[in-house]
């Protein structure tokens, strides 16, 4: 069973178009994320939702709009695509785990969506 799934796996589109990427997790986690990995493999967080509520919103153009219809789904909609949006977008999910001395969130990543803007 796939824990974190994304669709589509590949997305090729023209500049100016609007596109969406979907993410679903079946781990029962409360928190979901979107990351962008550029051509140099740098991985940067974009958004995070906890129980459908936006909790992290990094410096991302407002052409990017996440939507979480329920805690198992986090979709990413991108308006007016630009060449610089070409990257691999990863969805992830996590659950806060409490141990003696504190807590942590181990994140589980989806397979990624490779977006190419022409």
């Amino acid at each position: 069973d796939t824990a974190v799934s994304q669709t589509p796996k590949y997305l090729v589109t023209q500049m100016g178009n609007d596109k969406s990427i979907k993410c679903e997790q079946n781990l029962g986690h409360d928190t979901m994320y979107w990351y962008k990995q550029d051509s140099k493999k740098f991985l940067k967080i974009m958004f995070s939702y906890n129980n459908k509520e936006l909790i992290i919103n990094e410096t991302v153009p407002n052409r990017f709009s996440p939507k979480s219809p329920d805690k198992a789904h986090l979709n990413l909609h991108i308006n007016s695509l630009e060449l610089g949006d070409s990257a691999v977008y990863f969805c992830a999910s996590s659950q806060e785990i409490w141990r003696e001395g504190g807590s942590y969130n181990e994140q589980f990543f989806g397979p990624g969506t490779r977006l190419t803007v022409l």
Partner: protein, 111 residues
């Protein structure tokens, strides 16, 4: 702002050799993660280190954490070709749900 630096960023080594990847971070944290990414694939969690002096081992990989020095190491023992991948460290800056990734170390092990 938390900065996470990995060293080296690229590493090519022979099978059978030992090597260490270093991860330095700029602010106090006691939660550090190591991930592996194969080319064209997703990220796979390797280790979670939660306290000063924590050490975890899985096969030929061993990770450790020194929170006072703000340093984690990933040691590779007797490298084999299958360990070729990009290894990322990531640090939680205090906001529980957020982690900051280093730039990754691309490890290429020559057969």
């Amino acid at each position: 702002e938390l900065k996470v630096e990995q060293n080296p960023l690229f590493l090519s080594m022979q099978e059978g050799k030992n090597y260490t990847i270093y991860c330095n971070y700029s602010t106090t944290s006691d939660r550090l993660y190591w991930y592996r990414q194969d080319p064209g694939k997703s990220l796979e969690s390797l280790f979670v280190l939660l306290s000063n002096g924590a050490v975890k081992q899985e096969g030929r990989l061993m990770a450790s954490l020194d929170t006072k020095a703000r340093l984690s190491t990933l040691h590779i023992t007797a490298a084999v070709h299958d360990l070729s991948a990009t290894y990322f460290c990531a640090v939680a800056p205090g906001i529980v749900d957020k982690i900051i990734f280093g730039k990754g170390t691309r490890l290429h092990i020559l057969p």
